[in-house]
């Protein structure tokens, strides 16, 4: 069972917050000993999900926490918004499917870049995506 040691929260309201979220995740990944490739994957996944929160979710938050499980260390990120929600989650997770102007790789791509991925969404109440990557 993972024990949480440190955690925090960042607002995701506008485009510039996506950059700040990326920087925060870079620092977290670095501090927890992620390799350069693992840092890059985690930051990229965070960038995709942060953008979804800002653009499609109408703004929200990114919560972060450092995980310890025995000798394993990891970082977990939770992206939450109170936006319109996703009506068809399977479709939203399909490569190339987009409701907006993107390439449709955000959700499906982010999922491939992390070890754990959990998406919950209800139409009208919002979306929550939790990802984790272990060192």
């Amino acid at each position: 069972m993972a024990v949480t040691h440190t955690q925090g929260e960042l607002p995701l309201k506008e485009e510039r917050d996506i950059v700040l979220a990326r920087q925060a995740v870079r620092r977290l990944s670095l501090e927890n000993g992620f390799s350069l490739v693992d840092q890059t994957k985690m930051v990229t996944a965070a960038s995709e999900l942060a953008r979804n929160t800002v653009i499609y979710g109408g703004g929200g938050t990114m919560k972060w926490e450092v995980l310890h499980d025995g000798i394993k260390r990891g970082v977990r990120l939770t992206f939450e918004d109170q936006g319109p929600g996703i009506s068809d989650i399977d479709l939203a997770l399909t490569d190339g499917w987009t409701s907006g102007t993107g390439m449709g790789l955000g959700l499906s791509g982010a999922r491939r870049l992390v070890n754990e991925f959990e998406l919950t969404s209800n139409v009208g109440t919002g979306t929550r995506v939790v990802i984790a990557r272990w060192k």
């Binding site: 870079r26 490739v37 390439m103 982010a110 491939r112």
Partner: protein, 119 residues
């Protein structure tokens, strides 16, 4: 307003992205670059991303779009200097930039552009 500088060298344009771009900055680069191609009659564009620590789907699309727009304006684009960790992540993300010419570094990119301009 913040802008990414575009340098002209003969009939080539050079862009070095050295900051973590927010989305709007990436979009202005697209506009600025296409205008610069027209204004300077440029035949080639070299984009150096060696300082970029991540390329996500938004930036990837921006690069791919720039390449496509430049092609329509009869200019060839070469993307150079991608860090190995970025390349690994980009492919895993599902973006392999099939329509973008790439080179390992600026030197090879320049050679590639000059070759394509002399034929």
């Amino acid at each position: 307003m913040e802008r990414i500088p575009i340098l002209r060298m003969g009939d080539l344009l050079l862009v070095t992205i050295q900051v973590d771009m927010h989305d709007q900055l990436a979009l202005s680069l697209q506009d600025d670059l296409t205008c610069a191609i027209e204004k300077h009659n440029a035949k080639g564009v070299l984009i150096d991303i060696s300082a970029l620590e991540i390329v996500d789907s938004f930036t990837g699309r921006m690069i791919s779009d720039i390449s496509g727009m430049a092609q329509i304006l009869d200019a060839k684009t070469v993307l150079v200097g991608m860090q190995p960790a970025v390349a690994i992540t980009l492919v895993e993300l599902g973006l392999s930039l099939p329509k973008v010419a790439t080179a390992l570094n600026v030197e090879r990119g320049m050679t590639l552009l000059k070759q394509s301009l002399s034929t």
